[in-house]
Symmetry: C2
Subunit: 500 residues, 2 copies
């Protein structure tokens, strides 16, 4: 399991085998970039969303919730800049019909003793430099060129010159001449609203939940009894027509976001507010079971920021396929509200009673994908170990997010007294939590089936329970310790563990 590819494979297999995540439309061969959450996955996902909502909305005084529609008035996306700028550079191979993101396709001229003898191309990858050099050496040998091979300097395809397009080989065929020039491809899914199918009816599936917040700023201020600084939080689906969906649920075409727009006064210290949000998000990740050691910060270089952005820091997570963005925390100034105000002609401002002044607030935007948190939790929780000489797969999910909070087992299923007692406890716990009942098979096997899906506690009703009134055993998934307690104690114990 040292190989991260193996770990990803193991997680994807577990997801399918136990009903966490299925490829969408599996019986029709799947549908690239879409996933379905199965009986256990939907519970884990709901628990993540509920924990986030509870911690960032219910338990705070300064954030209110929102649930805007997925399809907005299309002018929203004109104002936000998405119609013009939410694009990826796309390149087609006319021969193989393969499509690439131009910024993930790298090329270089191969020069020997001052003469360009051809081009090589590679797809973005940790080993792409070495691969390109090997290809260049092959080319030199095949063409029997003498002299020194000049250093291979890879550029991405968006930097190619028009006269180079016919010379750069397609990664699919290895032959030049079939790649198109790069073109801008808008990643918003389009549709038509109403009975017409023309430009006047074009609408978009939201590529982010954030704009739904900005266009409701005025309504929330007018009705919500909010006071600056305050935030508006939203959880919901978003859609991006990714050219190259990859890494399981990490980059898919349909995903779910948890976003906050946190509005602050333009005269307040945005850098401190930004830093506080980064710290707050890190703390939240830790609280739900994503360890600090696997998280890191990536502040975007100032020169790469959009003109309106004051700063963006990504919270990165060590996924099996590399260190990748889990959450973005962006300081966006007053760009979005200003844009929507200008385009709609509505005042989207705040009246500051103390300063007796109106202004457009600035905003800090912590934005995180539910599916990425889901995957980060699985990655963290997934372990293989050995228990009583048998290999065990265990998901060490915290009780708050685990699909089942406990499983209740009668030690044997052919002893009515045991079964009745177990069922009674099951019924009692089920009123409060999502718990599972299992009477089938050897107890060790039943434990392991629950370990694999992250159930933190195994509660067994055994002979001592009924014969000696000794209580039930509660087995901890992680420590494997078993403690005896009464049924009343179990109820309180589980409440405490689940609700923290």
């Amino acid at each position: 399991m040292a190989d991260p590819t193996d770990k990803m494979e193991s997680i994807i297999n577990l997801c399918k085998r136990r009903g966490f995540v299925f490829p969408s439309s599996d019986i029709y061969g799947g549908f690239n970039g879409f996933f379905d959450y199965g009986p256990l996955g939907v519970e884990l996902k709901n628990n993540i969303k509920q924990a986030w909502w509870q911690d960032f909305v219910h338990r705070r005084d300064d954030i209110v919730g929102l649930d805007s529609s997925i399809i907005h008035h299309p002018t929203t996306w004109k104002a936000s800049g998405h119609i013009d700028n939410f694009t990826d550079p796309l390149v087609d191979c006319k021969e193989s019909k393969m499509r690439y993101r131009a910024d993930q396709l790298f090329f270089a001229p191969v020069r020997v003793a001052g003469e360009t003898i051809g081009y090589v191309s590679v797809l973005e990858d940790d080993g792409m430099q070495a691969k390109a050099e090997e290809m260049a050496n092959d080319m030199k040998r095949k063409l029997a060129k003498q002299g020194a091979l000049e250093p291979i300097v890879l550029k991405d395809y968006t930097e190619s010159l028009p006269e180079e397009h016919a010379l750069i080989p397609s990664p699919a065929t290895g032959k030049p001449g079939s790649l198109t020039p790069p073109r801008s491809f808008n990643m918003m899914f389009q549709t038509y609203v109403g009975a017409m199918q023309d430009a006047s009816a074009t609408a978009y599936l939201r590529p982010e939940t954030a704009q739904g917040i900005f266009i409701n700023f005025k309504n929330v201020v007018d009705t919500g009894r909010v006071k600056l600084p305050f935030g508006i939080a939203q959880i919901g689906k978003a859609f991006r027509n990714e050219i190259n969906p990859r890494n399981f649920i990490f980059r898919s075409r349909e995903f779910e976001q948890m976003e906050i727009e946190y509005f602050i006064s333009p005269s307040s210290d945005w850098a401190t507010a930004h830093k506080d949000w980064i710290e707050g998000c890190l703390a939240w990740f830790e609280s739900i079971g994503i360890p600090r050691a696997k998280l890191s910060l990536y502040p975007h270089p100032t020169e790469k920021l959009a003109h309106y952005s004051k700063g963006t820091t990504d919270i990165m997570f060590e996924f099996p396929f590399g260190v990748q963005e889990l959450q973005g925390v962006a300081a966006r100034g007053d760009f979005d509200l200003t844009q929507h105000s200008n385009v709609s002609g509505q005042k989207l401002d705040w009246f500051d009673e103390a300063a007796k002044a109106r202004y457009i607030p600035h905003v800090i935007e912590p934005s995180v994908g539910v599916d990425r948190v889901f995957l980060a939790l699985l990655t963290t929780a997934y372990h293989e170990d050995e228990v009583e000489g048998e290999k065990r797969v265990v998901l060490r999910l915290p009780a708050r997010v685990a699909p089942f909070k406990a499983a209740i087992f009668p030690l044997v299923k052919n002893k009515p007294e045991l079964v009745e007692r177990a069922e009674a406890l099951y019924r009692r716990l089920k009123k409060r939590h999502n718990v599972f009942y299992d009477a089938a098979g050897a107890i060790g096997r039943r434990y392991r089936r629950q370990d694999e899906i992250g159930t933190p506690f195994g509660i067994t009703i055994d002979f001592e329970t009924i014969e000696k009134n000794a209580g039930v055993t509660v087995r901890d998934r992680d420590t494997l310790e078993q403690v005896r307690m009464t049924e009343d104690e179990v109820v309180r114990y589980l409440d405490d563990k689940v609700n923290g």
Copy 2:
């Protein structure tokens, strides 16, 4: 408020004024058929969904959850019949550019003494017969025709003959000649997945969550440890390109469904299962605060059922705009699984261990819209009365679904002891429930602000609390009774009321 139109107006106003529901993209003039749920609306909506999930998934042994993607493989909709049949008949008025559902546009020839002197048309409406007769009389008078007007027999436009299209007047202009023949309009929103925009890339936003369940049947059976009879439940967005969205959130283009497919053996008694589900759904509506007296049953006439359907009963609710469908409970036989099995080539069946036989299960489908339950709850809860001589708007929402469970008030805000005590109780309750704190204004006004948004309990910390250690007062929104209890008692009281 006897006028139902007034009641609807009052509810829509309250929704906007207090942040339950806003028109989508309000600053851009709204977007017909789309709505945004504000800070209070999202809480009510989440509470409805959580109550449903808890009662139908967590507290049962025979139903598991699912969360499938909104965009499926397009073959799903071929197999389900939606591409061919999920259509509304559409008619255009070429002159006014108005669009009508042909089955909501009625017409009749006007015949006097055996001669057809013209046609009248009316839009579907309780008074359409009288209106058509008046128009016919007008026509007879204007054309100065003598003789008896024959009875006006309205038919809908889908029943019109080709030669009649040029004769039937447009409801928009009153003049014949501008209506097109009716055509089938598919209500699924289309989009393109991938970088091509052609037929091969066409995909659809799901018009129902149900098919996502059927296409995952095999995956759930293979992983979910389910045993027939069992159900799969799903909550999620669905989209229908309605020609004529209407009645606020009742019929919108983007909405949210809560659906169950409950699979039973083909040899079991489907009629009993169907009846049990109808009773179960009625009981659930009652449990969340929709009274039985406002609910009625509409069994679809046998001759109107689809060929595969064994029976469909709608649970109707008395909305202010009429008695309309709240929930459908359909017995769909094995149609859907059979279709998907035939088209995918996958076996979607069940192995019955007792009977040693394989078969495709039959299904009962209880399907309800979250937005309709939301509206039914608001309709039921909305009251205007008088308290202490002042008019009061009150939402009598049950504690389980109310956005805020309680509001905590210090009697006055300039007495630090009161404020501290109130804040401490607020913090304590906020860990467990969504509660509100309000220190501003006269206490009566604070109560009324909470009454209007359905907060069931007002908890006041007054002078007796701190001076006589007399506990706090808990005011019941509906009975207006105030009882004193300690803070510890308040915590338990609220837990009991909310969790029932």
